[in-house]
């Protein structure tokens, strides 16, 4: 087994679902939901490299299983509600329409339904020059993708990447060579459709490359209905002095799960600027691994997670400074009502070569109810000596004096609360410079509040 590991020097961790010795004979203890996922793997008709990749991923997935809270990276997010389910593969094709809730980003649109590209629902007529788009399924069908699929996302790195690598059959493959003046924009839409007998799981794999000096704004929105797991992995590479603005809206169905793992590789002088707004899903994990790989590279990982009801939202970032003179900024805000829970785990890893690193991380939470909770775990791992790294965290409630001031001017309690929540989120949202997208996020925030407020019955 260890022979298939790409990092043989690393000890293979023993976790639930691992192969254990019992009475001398090896006995695989594969969890039923893991087994159900493994069964979904179809016979591979593709090239050998792909079959090998899938094999290794399947092996890693079987070995890793669904992490429990004993796994440090998942200590604050309990996956039992997900691991209990036996997911089916989604039915492909069939009638579908674009849900009403899809924001108009004023950009060409790529639509995926249950993870499958749907040209019939997409609108790629006005694709800007220098932006090439194809689906992963067609790339693979034509024998392409070698060296690109899995370039950044190692199946050994975790359960969900392994699962995605084993089963991913579609996604967006985007190559951008458009100059900044072209102001190229693109909208990626994911629609989840539960509603069958068994919940469905889909595993989109996006491969995005921004060439040297090019620039792209990508709006990535996910929504749906019913019970499903959207397990997305995105591999993003930015060439020298490239720029990507990545604005994401996670508005999955309240009965859906989303696990999203983004790998961003940022070359010299390039900038990856991301903002994630999470308003949906029963349980959501947003994991971002950004690596500043060349001097003067920049990464902004900003976002807001809004919780209501019994929802669980997790943001986990790993920011690796692997080159000197790079800067990273992370500001995450959580607003939690009801009995919702949020997790923020942010790790800044500064390699020894990464002198003059400028790293900043801030995590702020606003708890709207006594039963809402946040777990925060900042982590600094610094091996260089000339760096400036800071992190901070605040947790608070709405300020009673501010609320009273607003109410004394005639604003009803709900409106006063909404105003203060909006104010709390305002400086986070300010980071989104694209006005159309900022407005879309503001609308999603307002919709979340309307729902959270109605649920709270206040």
């Amino acid at each position: 087994m260890a022979s298939s590991s790409r990092q043989p020097e690393m000890a293979v961790p023993v976790m639930d679902g691992a192969v254990r010795e019992m009475g001398g004979a090896p006995m695989p203890l594969v969890h039923p939901s893991v087994a159900a996922m493994l069964e979904l793997r179809r016979a591979e008709e593709g090239p050998e490299w792909l079959a090998t990749l899938r094999d290794r991923a399947a092996e890693a997935f079987a070995r890793l299983g669904f992490p429990t809270r004993r796994n440090e990276a998942w200590h604050y997010t309990d996956l039992r509600s997900l691991a209990e389910l036996r997911f089916a593969a989604p039915e492909r094709g069939g009638a579908a329409r674009l849900p009403d809730g899809v924001a108009d980003a004023g950009a060409p649109r790529l639509v995926f339904v249950d993870g499958a590209f749907r040209p019939d629902l997409s609108d790629l007529d006005s694709l800007p020059d220098g932006v090439r788009v194809e689906s992963l399924s067609s790339l693979l069908a034509m024998g392409g993708g070698e060296g690109r699929l899995g370039a950044l996302a190692d199946a050994e790195s975790g359960t969900f990447v392994a699962l995605n690598t084993m089963l991913a059959d579609d996604g967006a493959v985007i190559t951008c060579t458009a100059a900044p003046e072209a102001a190229a924009r693109l909208h990626l839409v994911s629609v989840g459709r539960g509603g069958g007998e068994r919940p469905v799981a889909f595993h989109p794999r996006h491969l995005i490359h921004i060439a040297e000096g090019a620039e792209l704004t990508l709006f990535d929105s996910a929504l749906g209905e019913g019970a499903y797991l959207n397990n997305t992995v995105a591999e993003i590479t930015l060439g020298k002095a490239a720029r990507m603005t990545h604005v994401r809206l996670q508005a999955e169905a309240a009965t859906g799960f989303q696990v999203s793992t983004v790998f961003a590789h940022v070359a010299e002088e390039a900038e990856y600027d991301s903002f994630v707004l999470a308003t949906g899903a029963r349980l959501a994990r947003n994991e971002v691994h950004a690596t500043l790989a060349g001097p003067k590279a920049v990464a902004h990982l900003n976002g807001a997670q809004l919780g209501d009801g019994a929802r669980h939202v997790d943001t986990t970032t790993v920011l690796t400074h692997a080159a000197p003179n790079c800067a990273s900024r992370q500001t995450f805000k959580s607003v939690l009502s009801g009995a919702s829970r949020a997790v923020f785990q942010g790790k800044i890893h500064v390699h020894q070569v990464a002198q003059k690193t400028d790293g900043y991380q801030m995590n702020q939470a606003l708890l709207l109810s006594p039963t809402a909770e946040i777990d925060a775990k900042p982590q600094l791992e610094i091996y260089a000596d000339d760096v400036k790294c800071s992190h901070g965290a605040t947790v608070g409630e709405l300020d009673a004096d501010q609320l009273f001031y607003l109410r004394s001017r005639g604003l009803p309690l709900a409106e006063a609360r909404a105003m203060l929540i909006e104010a709390f989120l305002a400086d986070a949202l300010e980071a989104v410079r694209d006005e159309t997208l900022r407005a879309a996020l503001a609308a999603a925030t307002a919709a979340w509040w309307a729902r959270a407020h109605a649920e709270a019955g206040a």
Binding site: L406, S408, G410, A423, D427
Partner: protein, 251 residues
């Protein structure tokens, strides 16, 4: 004359400490009454109790406002009923734009009264006129509410809100403190412009100074949570000369 605001036997406590020990006070429509008293006598507490601030527990007595039981109402309903408190220490609201705040407050009040909301243009037109009269720059509308405002700017902002919201009854809590004489005159002019036969006012102040510009109909002295003396405007001058010492000894 029928009182617009009628306070009877009002007692109130903060953290179980009794601060108001039985207040009786009537302010008819069209009149301006002043409440004077040394620090700690309970002036702000009275203002907060009227506005409905949490943590200020009414332990006895009643307050009728325009014939209604004021103490039974939520703060926002008191505002809708026409009560306005200009805070001694206006609250800062980072992230809340001043113009947006003021417009939303005005429209909330208009909705409650069944009046049409004002759109951004109508609102701006109204607010610009009021700001000019108060010697305020329009730039203050773009800033976050009271954030980075000087003491004087905060007080003017309170008066601006009052001028825009046009409440039936104004409680001004030490609106004069921290103002230089020019600012004081501007603020007093703003307040006087709102005086009218339908409007009542309760002007809380520590010093007589403000009352030379806003001449009250009645002056009440609040000491140790009780009104110990009431009189005409001349009482303010008397207090200025003699201080509160004599009254404190008598109390």
């Amino acid at each position: 004359m029928k009182a617009m605001l009628k306070i009877e036997g009002l007692t109130a406590a903060i953290d179980e400490k009794t601060v108001l020990k039985g207040i009786d006070l009537e302010v008819p429509a069209g009149e301006v009454h002043a409440i004077m008293g040394p620090n700690g006598s309970g002036k702000s507490t009275l203002g907060y109790v009227l506005a409905g601030r949490e943590g200020y527990e009414v332990t006895g007595g009643s307050v009728q406002f325009r014939g209604e039981d004021l103490l039974a109402m939520e703060p926002e309903d008191r505002a809708a009923a026409g009560l306005f408190l200009a805070f001694q220490y206006p609250v800062e609201l980072p992230g809340v734009g001043n113009a947006n705040f003021l417009r939303q407050a005005m429209n909330a009040l208009r909705r409650k009264r069944g009046e049409a909301e004002l759109d951004a243009m109508q609102f701006l037109k109204l607010v610009r006129g009021r700001m000019k009269a108060l010697g305020m720059t329009e730039e203050m509308l773009k800033r976050f509410v009271n954030v980075g405002f000087s003491g004087g700017e905060k007080k003017r902002n309170e008066i601006l809100q009052m001028a825009v919201l046009e409440p039936a009854f104004c409680v001004l809590d030490e609106t004069d403190s921290g103002l230089d004489i020019d600012a004081l005159k501007i603020v007093a002019d703003g307040v006087n412009a709102l005086r009218g036969p339908e409007r009542g006012m309760l002007v809380i102040t520590h010093y007589q100074r403000l009352l030379t510009y806003i001449v009250p109909d009645r002056v009440h002295v609040l000491l140790g949570g009780r009104i110990v003396r009431s009189g005409g405007p001349e009482l303010a001058l008397e207090l200025e000369e003699k201080g509160y010492g004599e009254l404190q000894q008598a109390a």
